[in-house]
Symmetry: C2
Amino acid sequence: MNEAAGEIDAALDRLLPIPEGGEARLYEAMRYSTIGGGKRLRGFLVLEGARQFNVSRQAALRVACAIEMVHAYSLIHDDLPAMDDDDMRRGKPTNHKQFDEATAILAGDALQTQAFHVLAGEETHPDPAVRIELVRLLARAAGARGMCGGQMLDMLAEQAEEPMNEAQIGRLQLLKTGKLIEFSAEAGAVLGKAPPAQRHSLAAYGRELGAAFQIADDLLDATASAEEMGKATAKDAGAGKATLVSLLGLERARIQAERLVEQARGHLDSFDSRAELLRRLAGFVIERRN
Amino acid sequence: MNEAAGEIDAALDRLLPIPEGGEARLYEAMRYSTIGGGKRLRGFLVLEGARQFNVSRQAALRVACAIEMVHAYSLIHDDLPAMDDDDMRRGKPTNHKQFDEATAILAGDALQTQAFHVLAGEETHPDPAVRIELVRLLARAAGARGMCGGQMLDMLAEQAEEPMNEAQIGRLQLLKTGKLIEFSAEAGAVLGKAPPAQRHSLAAYGRELGAAFQIADDLLDATASAEEMGKATAKDAGAGKATLVSLLGLERARIQAERLVEQARGHLDSFDSRAELLRRLAGFVIERRN
């Protein structure tokens, strides 16, 4: 994963060159939250999904960068004072703390635009039908019925008088983080024009992985220190927010995450040894410490 | 234009159906700032550009809606307290006043995503190469080297000690509003697979029109009442912001706008009577009172 993260950083650096003129500040803010930080789970999924179908590394890296741009934009906006009001992210000041709120809003906006621009570029795939399918899938995963919709549910949950039940939490997390992780796992199959069955298997793998990842995140929020995480922790309990961990308890939540990991691995049964890193990744997401 | 605005509103209504669940609030915020307001200059340009090449009305309307969604998203974010901090827009409370800041940020984000989703849909054009070209052009016009970059320049100009010169103002306005208006004029030619010369003529028409429109906007800001405009006026002078009007004076600014309108019309010389509304639109943008 570290190796892939390095490759993704180098590609992001090329895709976000600082221009002449006053827009330079906007690019600096975009680069600040995109390059050199994070686990690159989503980008790694794109690269490993693409590996199953011998997709060119350049094409896979561009799609990995697009998804990391969308992820970075969502974090910049989530951290804003009007949203989660966070000061630290990935061990450094959040974008609006490092720059200012207006610049952070614009940097997030421009990163989302840039993600679609990267997908639309010819270097992503010679076939326009493949590129437009990636645009369509990413827009569905990131929009009001995906990530943005999940974020809205999350805000409403914080204001609600009654805590969410298990089904509501599952739906919130599927929208807020699951859809984008599912897209990341599926994108390589789109790039490789894979048969529908294999594409659906990778998407299903991404869905289960995303759900496991979210429980692991909640477990870390409940048990890890802010120092380990590079951001504030124990925020869910502090906000009185229901998570699967608060609902099921640590032990049962862990068991459920392990079950999801097994299911995720099961979707890779028809894949050969090239899927080894994807199989191992499933275990990593629930064993990680940050 | 009123007729086109009505058609665009009906199409937006179909493209933004309110779903079940908590995301409904997000859709309400998206619809609040998108449907039923504004002159629809950008959408109208798409429809009239498409008319030159006998593009189907359904296709043209989808692209018109996509551009109006991007325009609406940019207004929602521009009005935020951290940006221009405006309370009124199109004669009603701004999005964050009607809902709240977090919802407004999310609604803007989701509108941008939805615009790309609409462009990517098969109903926009049967040929994926046309759809991906529209995505590429819109992303270029709206991103860090277009609208978002212009917005950044605008913010820096407000903080700068020295006022901008004419060239700097021209570049700021080209990025901030010109690029999107140029895209709107060009999009119909892309949908109609027009010969390059005609596509370039429409784009050039859009560029000149956009520049004239911006001077007209500055003239209105300097002379019209808030009641006529449905939003606060005299903001540029209040912010000590240099515009072509403050730099050249009312009279010379008016003359320059008229010259731009003539140049815009000149780019339509090779078009037939179907371009009549585009020719008349050029005059309208500098004669309007709101």
